[in-house]
Amino acid sequence: MELRVAARKRFGAFLLDADFSVRGERIGVFGPSGGGKSTLVGIIAGLAGPDKGTIVLDDEVIFDSGAGRNVRPEHRRMGMVFQRPSLFPHLSVKGNLLYGFKRCPPEARKIAFDDVVEVLKIGNLLDRGVKHLSGGEKQRVAIGRAVLGSPRLLLLDEPLSALDDSLKFQIVPFLNEACEVFRIPYLFISHSLLEMRVMTDIVLHMAGGRVVEQTTAESLVRARMGEGKTGYINLLRLPEGRGVDGLYAFDWGGQRLLASSGNDQPGALFELSSRDIILFRGRPEAVSARNLLKCRVVDVFETGSRVGIELDCCGNRLVAEVVGQAAEELGVRAGGEIYAAIKATAFKKLG
């Protein structure tokens, strides 16, 4: 998918001045509230017209103020998932799911109803009204409704923001799988870097109504890791764990990881702060931390007053963070060997 936008829109004192060209399938739009993310989505969807400019999606001009062209929203074939599910309250789950499907020209329908129901696991909800669904169920139905319209581009406008943390990461796999299985490119809008890392490959960083850079979530996180209280959050996708002496053991690239919280489904995400990793130059004789990993230093980078150290542990990447003096004493350099100690309690399951 290729999207080119060069458009301006003024709202009172706020000016959206977007000028970018992006190519990819999993694109993020990141920025603080009031940075222009939702306005940008609105003009791409056709819900608001730019004052002037052009918007081109895969070589089709969908807006051009010079040529007087403005494709109506119903003809743009874009799906949208909002922050709140915004399901039609007067229709059943099935009625909601089929709303876009019925209106999609038959030749453009690429996605089958039953497949979506299966991927999103909503088969048991079909005949129910939408008012009594749980928050997660509603958002899954909203995703299904948007996907069933066979959109050329899915606009995900903070679809996880209204969900609490545990629910958020229950929805992520559904969202990822639906877009992957049905090959729908998307723009994922959020102010959360964690969500950006899980959902996107390329990120348009917006601030003050402009796209200030085109980057990756990883770079944004590294640039900010010195500022936050939590440091860099390592995300680990772990297989199903098994109980060992009150802890859970996971196979992680041939090594055994011990964590205090388990997971009942394989592929669940765990987070680990860069500040919860203690580094040793040689192998310590004994440590209380239940995980001692032999690693190779891949990269050493400055991040504010601290030093970020990217580690390779049997093919898996981890980022640790130490103060400058500690880095000096450890003598870290790219290619060097180092031991990382991590407490079992430092791993936190997401969702």
Partner: protein
Amino acid sequence: MPAFTAADYSAIFLSLKVAVVATLASLPFAFAAAYIMTYRRFRGRIAVDVAVNLPLTLPPVVIGYLLLILLGQQGFIGRMLLQPLGIKLIFSWKAAVIATSVVGFPLMVRSIRTAMEGIDERLVHASRLLGARALDTIMTVIVPLSVRGIIAGSVLMFARGLGEFGATVIVAGNIPGVTQTIPLAIYEYAGSPGDDAMALSLCAVSVSISVVVLVFHEWLGRRVVRRD
């Protein structure tokens, strides 16, 4: 209770007919006006708002008189449109329908508009993005979600129509058997000595119809709530 005359039955029937026809005829226009006021941004919106609501504040007699001037043989609409088409409105039951429609219109628009304003804008956006054209969105999202306002507005208009007096008496007159509705008949009985019982009987009919309408409204409202 004294027996009703043929003219009385005719007044009861005519009242119902005028109220029903005025309600049904106004509904599409009131819906359109409410839709435009809720969803369209345009220059002169305030002027349209004032025009729609004006009958609410004007004395019905003033409305009746203005309609008489407009629709009469020498009036602008009467001369330009009605006469060439051979239509005579003034002093017919149709004039009573027009008078009732104009007087009740703002009530109907208000009810529908309040309901429309309560619809989450994202539902309308979602519908358009899912491929629905504007009319499709109106029929499949806006109408079903503003149905309570439509019912309430229709009931208000109907009730207002049953009680309409001032505008009707001027444009339609008070012709027994032709344009005389319940309020006009009561007015006539009340004005002639010894007919108090007849006036009271018609009042009882009026009260009964109103009670039936309100009960029906309540029942319909509950049905919609239950369906939700």
